[in-house]
Amino acid sequence: MISLDTLPIGVVGIISEYSDKVVGSRLIELGLYPGKRIKVIRKAPFNGGLYVKSDKNAFAIGLTEAKSVFTTTD
């Protein structure tokens, strides 16, 4: 299990759990709940957040926020 910020670009991860209540509940509301497949597409300039995709939808997740999201890979 690795945190989302360490998931290599282009690799599909499966969301398994969250360590932050607020970020976790917002992600669930956005449809990024445990079991969903997620892929980091690119990183923002100036050490900013992650541009991720899940299904056909794109999301922006801050770097600190991404550290609280854990994924498994196949």
Partner: protein, 707 residues
């Protein structure tokens, strides 16, 4: 037949096209009000559902669920969890995006569990078809036990059907007993206790929401909060776990329904949005494109807006002259021309900038580009307590703080929005340019530097702008430490697919912004300008008349020309007016900064707007007729010697001190009026005025003593 009034809530996730549907339903019959106790706008419109049923439609802020993470979302929870709330709806029109049904149905399922009759409007079906998604509407309706209709907020297709199903709801044909989430036995314990305790009749799900959010529900008093707290401790109510379990259980129910009602013919390859984002959010190109766009925004409000602004200026001046010629010479004519008409001109002059800025901002918002800007700049701006969206305000502030402060409205987090509003006026706006120009021309020699690439005056100008930017960012850091957050700041958001902006929405946004500014901020600006006019035109007793008589005699003795005499009289009259008296009274306060009573008078008058400083100085130095030419004023300042001491009145140190003063000082009543309107209290403009004035005073004091 008696007519009936009903309340309909328009609800849905952010970026779902809710406002298009709101505009379709209500047209121009809209107004903006307040949700109680918060600075969130409440858009209300009205429409006739049938001849005898009038509906009041409330456009609620875009929300993901009834577990709020921002003040916008809290408004929805507060209204929906309290059946006695004035905004508690009789019916709900829930708007969902066809391209992402599963997520959009989450909040719908929560609304259904509140047992408020609801109809589902599925928007953007045309976009879904392009993505190869087709929806079996009837099947979806049947499974959810909610009437679903395809609508198109842009073309208006499906709106009349939506209307029909609202009538069905009113006729009681909707199902409002079944629910989607069934509370667990542990939750049920707490729910029952809260229902028994609550003064009003609650649904199970409302009681559950009270158990989760009691501490933040404004309609509960302290004893009620304590009581619910006791219950939740007794029952070992696990806040976070229950919330996540509930949400996952909803998805478990919704996912199969959605999967059975839609078919996706997967289209291979990247979508258009992906292709655009490859360039637009690229590490190098992304920021370059964004900054270029902002430069375009800046250019348009800085220079393009000046064409209509000059026309307004000239138009008002012509009107002023015309009224003066037609009406008799009397105090009420002066009140109408120099007081009311000037004040009105001072309000209307901002309309082009506001209209252009909001036209461009709503293009960025509507197309989906703004979300990308937030993605790229959120981290940098977070260091200064602001959001990625704040950059738009800060850059616009370089032209004028008024539209810039209004642009902060789209920042969802209260703390970030407040910080943006509080610091934006520190960015040097265009009204400071005439002030900087005369002071720099006076104090800095026009010598070339860097081998003629720049000259020293240009460098001084740049320095003043930089000083403003540094102050803005530092003030951001300070406010970040001081202000308490009402919701956590974090970045986890959707990047919606790119869309053509909907022109009707753009038009309505611009109209609404201009209207609000004129009506709400305009009132304050008008009042202050009339007061300032009165203070500058009148003095105690017959002091003004005496000043005129004495000035005329002195002019004859000095052998002045007619024009010089008029300037001289104007100077003496201003000196004798209440403003003149105020200027002399505050002189001791500003003496340590190197300002005499003449400059102090200009500080008082330029509270209306900074550029007034130059005009007032010209009047006091008896060259009021020189107009916009600064050379005569510069000459006067250089030659001005205090007759009693023989020293120069206006030194280089004074000029630099004034420059620093104007970089920091909140010398703009119009901005204060807008800040009052945007924060909905006098508290924030007062804090802003105080901190910026203190910064200006001590900054200028320091500067005066190092030169």
């Amino acid at each position: 037949m008696t007519s009936k009034r009903i309340k309909i809530a328009l609800l849905g996730n952010p970026n779902v096209g809710k406002s298009s549907i709101f505009n379709q339903l209500t047209g121009l019959r809209q107004k903006v009000g307040n949700f109680p106790g918060v600075t969130v706008d409440k858009k209300i419109g009205s429409c006739h559902i049938t001849n005898d049923i009038e509906a009041q439609i409330i456009d609620f802020p875009g929300t993901y669920s009834l577990y709020p993470t921002s003040s916008d979302e809290r408004v929805v929870l507060n209204s929906f969890s309290n059946p006695s709330s004035e905004d508690y709806p009789d019916y709900v029109v829930y708007v969902a995006d066809a391209t992402n049904l599963e997520r959009h149905l989450l909040l719908l399922s929560q609304v259904k569990d509140l047992h408020i009759p609801v109809v589902l409007a599925i928007n953007m079906a045309d976009l879904a078809i392009k993505q190869g998604i087709s929806i079996d509407i009837d099947r979806l309706s049947e499974k959810l036990k909610i009437k679903a209709i395809e609508v198109n907020g842009r073309s208006g297709d499906g709106i009349s059907e939506l209307n029909k199903s609202i009538i069905d709801l009113i006729d009681g044909k909707g199902d409002n007993t079944s629910h989607i989430y069934t509370a667990t036995s542990e939750e049920k314990k707490t729910i029952d206790k809260i229902k028994e305790f609550a003064p009003q009749k609650l649904s199970n799900y409302q009681a559950l929401l009270w158990a989760h959010h009691y501490n933040e529900l404004p309609f509960l008093d302290d004893s009620q909060k304590t009581f619910i707290e006791k219950i939740t401790i007794e029952d070992d109510f696990k806040n976070m776990k229950y919330q996540i379990d509930e949400t996952l259980s909803r998805y478990n129910t919704l996912s199969p329904i959605v999967n059975n009602s839609i078919t996706i013919q997967s289209l291979e390859g990247d979508s258009l949005s992906d292709k655009i984002d490859k360039i637009v959010t690229n590490k190098i190109w992304g920021p370059i494109i964004f900054i270029s766009l902002l430069m375009l925004v800046f250019q348009s409000i800085f220079s393009w807006a000046s064409v209509p602004m000059d026309l307004i200026d000239e138009g008002m001046a012509t009107l002023n002259e015309a009224v003066k010629n037609v009406m008799p010479e009397a105090w009420y004519t002066d009140l109408i021309t120099d007081g009311i008409l000037s004040g009105l001109g001072g309000v209307i002059i901002f309309v082009p900038q506001i209209a252009i800025l909001f036209f461009l901002i709503s293009l960025m918002e509507e197309s989906g580009y703004m979300a990308r800007a937030v993605y790229m700049f959120d981290r940098i701006m977070a260091k200064f307590g602001m959001s990625g969206r704040s950059i738009v305000s800060l850059i616009s502030g370089g032209a004028c703080a008024i539209p810039a402060v209004m642009a902060a409205r789209t920042i969802g987090n209260w703390k970030e929005r407040m910080i943006t509003i509080m610091v934006t006026p520190l960015i040097s706006c265009s009204a400071r340019i005439p002030v900087y120009a005369i002071l720099v021309a006076f104090a800095v020699p026009n010598t070339p530097v860097l081998g003629g690439l720049l000259n020293l005056q240009g460098v001084a100008f740049m320095g003043l702008y930089l000083l403003g930017i540094v102050a803005t960012l530092l003030a951001g850091i300070v406010f970040k430490l001081i202000l308490k957050a009402d919701a956590p700041t974090f970045l986890a958001m959707e990047l919606p697919s790119y869309k053509m902006p909907h022109w009707k929405n753009v038009g309505l946004t611009v109209t609404e912004k201009v209207k609000t500014f004129i009506i709400e901020a305009g009132k304050v600006i008008m009042m202050v300008s009339i007061v300032l006019w009165a203070l500058a035109s009148y003095g105690p007793g017959d002091s003004i008349e005496n000043a005129e008589t004495i000035a005329k005699q002195e002019s004859v003795e000095k052998g002045l020309t007619d024009a010089q005499t008029e300037d001289y009289i104007a100077a003496k009259q201003l000196e004798a007016s209440y403003v003149g008296i105020m200027g002399k009274a505050i002189e001791p306060v500003f003496a340590p900064l190197g300002y005499d009573w003449k400059i102090s008078i200009a500080l008082v008058t330029s509270f209306a707007a900074r550029e007034v400083f130059v005009g007032t100085m010209a009047t006091i130095y008896s060259i009021g007729s020189a107009g916009e030419d600064i050379a005569p004023l510069k000459e006067k300042l250089t030659g001005a010697v205090d007759p009693s001491t023989g020293k120069h009145e206006f030194t280089v140190a004074t000029a630099f001190s004034l420059m620093v003063f104007y970089v920091f000082a909140m010398q703009c009543m119009s901005t204060l009026a807008v800040v009052k309107r945007e924060t909905k209290s006098w508290k924030w403009p007062l804090i802003q005025f105080t901190y910026m004035s203190l910064l200006a005073y001590f900054g200028a004091l320091f500067t005066y003593h190092i030169f």
